[in-house]
């Protein structure tokens, strides 16, 4: 028995389904009934039910590409702040920085999360095409709005790249790195997406903003 429709707005504690269904992200099961645990949009795919959260901090997942800030040096690696409640660690052998160069505290890196343990010990991998990000500016948005910034098949980010001529790299953790072109305009566009993510007709408005 299913109580929620596809693309419904749900709030925590709302009963979504009962019986033979599989609960995924954003839901929890109690005595055979599935309830929403966050504010979000409910998606029903055959027997699978999930809720995509509209808010929330970034929770690391293996396979994600993120942007981080080096916060500390250790014996054979670095600790990296990835804009989440947990720090990540990067081993020396997992990054290529050249023979006479090294990573310093405060450097920006793009990296892939390779492993997240149960206690949230996170290891990164930052060899090609990842690695240190030189120059450029960093913009922070909500991690829940990242899919919106990228858009369907990258349409939104492609639009911003084209109109500003910048190189943009978006981390799943909500950090956006922009270099070259009109950096300021690109940053404003990202912040606009962040602010107005839930209002329909976003692509048109961003396009209008960039053309102005």
């Amino acid at each position: 028995m299913i109580y929620a429709n596809n693309k419904d707005l749900v709030v925590p504690g709302m009963l979504l389904a009962e019986g033979d269904y599989i609960n995924e992200d954003g839901t929890h099961k109690d005595k055979g009934k599935i309830y929403a645990s966050v504010v979000g949009i409910c998606y029903v795919d055959h027997r699978k039910i999930r809720v995509v959260a509209l808010e929330g901090k970034y929770i690391p997942k293996s396979g994600d590409t993120i942007i981080g800030v080096v916060t500390g040096e250790r014996l054979s690696g670095w600790t990296v702040d990835i804009n989440s409640p947990y720090n990540a660690s990067l081993s020396q052998r997992d990054i290529h920085v050249g023979r006479f160069d090294t990573l310093k505290v405060g450097d920006l890196i793009s990296a892939k999360i390779v492993k997240v343990t149960e206690t949230f010990d996170i290891s990164l991998y930052a060899k090609r095409p990842h690695g240190r990000l030189n120059e450029g500016i960093l913009v922070e948005i909500h991690s829940s709005r990242v899919p919106r910034l990228i858009g369907r098949r990258g349409s939104m980010i492609k639009l911003i790249k084209e109109k500003t001529g910048s190189i943009i790299s978006v981390g799943q953790n909500g950090l956006v790195w922009i270099r070259g072109g009109n950096e300021e305009l690109a940053a404003q566009a990202c912040q606009m997406v962040d602010r107005e993510a839930h209002i329909p007709g976003l692509t048109d408005r961003v396009s209008g903003f960039l053309s102005r």
């Binding site: 693309k7 707005l9 709030v11 925590p12 504690g13 009963l15 954003g26 929890h28 109690d30 309830y35 645990s37 966050v38 504010v39 949009i41 995509v52 959260a53 509209l54 808010e55 929330g56 901090k57 929770i59 409640p85 947990y86 720090n87 149960e118 206690t119 949230f120 829940s144 899919p147 919106r148 858009g151 369907r152 839930h198 209002i199 329909p200």
Partner: protein, 230 residues
């Protein structure tokens, strides 16, 4: 019986809830409950400070309740006092069962409740506001936690005492519940009630909580109305 503000015995004061009012907080809520005016802010989950409070298997919840010096008729000395610390503690106890704390081990959720204007029942209004703020911060929860008080004035059990009633009344009993499980997470009482009156007051307060629960849901829906995602 006629109440001071002309309400029925089982009627709440007018309540207005608004989610997402503070820009720098991860989640926030403003509530006007009769003459109470309260801001709630949620920060987190974030790294635990001080480190020794860290739990390996779940998040920890820290609550701060503060009354502004101008929130009451006679100026209140600023800073935390015995009462504020106690209310912070009971709020933490009331909210923790509803949050899925094991989702974020080794992290901390910080809650701050700021009472701008007080008129009896601030802890109930505070808990109600905080649970909306928690949902607004995207923290996974079993359910929202509505809260509401019942009490006894002039020998009759009534819902949601206002300041004047609280001062002249015989008893006041704040209750917070998890509506879906029908479980009580906060139950306090000052004053005297007989056994039947306690039963009566709890039932009445729980009915009040159900009404508050609907208002919480409405507030969240209002904030995100028209939201759509790919």
């Amino acid at each position: 019986m006629e109440r001071v503000d002309g309400r029925r015995f089982d009627e709440l004061r007018p309540i207005k809830i608004e989610a997402g009012v503070l820009k720098r907080a991860d989640g926030s809520c403003y509530i006007e409950w009769g003459k109470n005016k309260i801001y709630a802010a949620v920060y987190g989950p974030k790294k635990v400070l001080p480190r020794h409070l860290e739990k390996d298997d779940r998040a920890i919840l820290r609550c701060r309740y503060n009354m502004a010096p101008f929130s009451v008729e006679e100026r209140k000395r600023p800073g935390p006092d015995r009462r504020a610390v106690e209310i912070g503690k009971v709020m933490q106890g009331a909210l923790e069962p509803a949050i899925l704390m094991h989702y974020y081990p080794k992290s901390m959720i910080e809650i701050s409740v700021e009472v701008v204007q007080a008129n009896a029942g601030t802890r109930c209004a505070g808990i109600t506001a905080v649970s909306v703020a928690l949902a607004d911060a995207g923290i996974p929860m079993r359910d929202l936690v509505p809260s509401c008080a019942a009490g006894k004035v002039d020998g009759q059990v009534i819902l949601d005492l206002a300041k004047e009633e609280d001062n002249s009344g015989e008893a006041d009993m704040p209750v917070a519940i998890i509506p879906r499980l029908n479980q009580i997470t906060l139950l306090q009482m000052d004053g005297k009630l007989t056994e039947q009156e306690v039963e009566q007051a709890i039932t009445l307060a729980m009915q009040g909580c159900q009404q508050v629960y609907q208002l919480q849901i409405d507030a969240l829906r209002r904030k995100y109305a028209g939201a759509e995602y790919e």
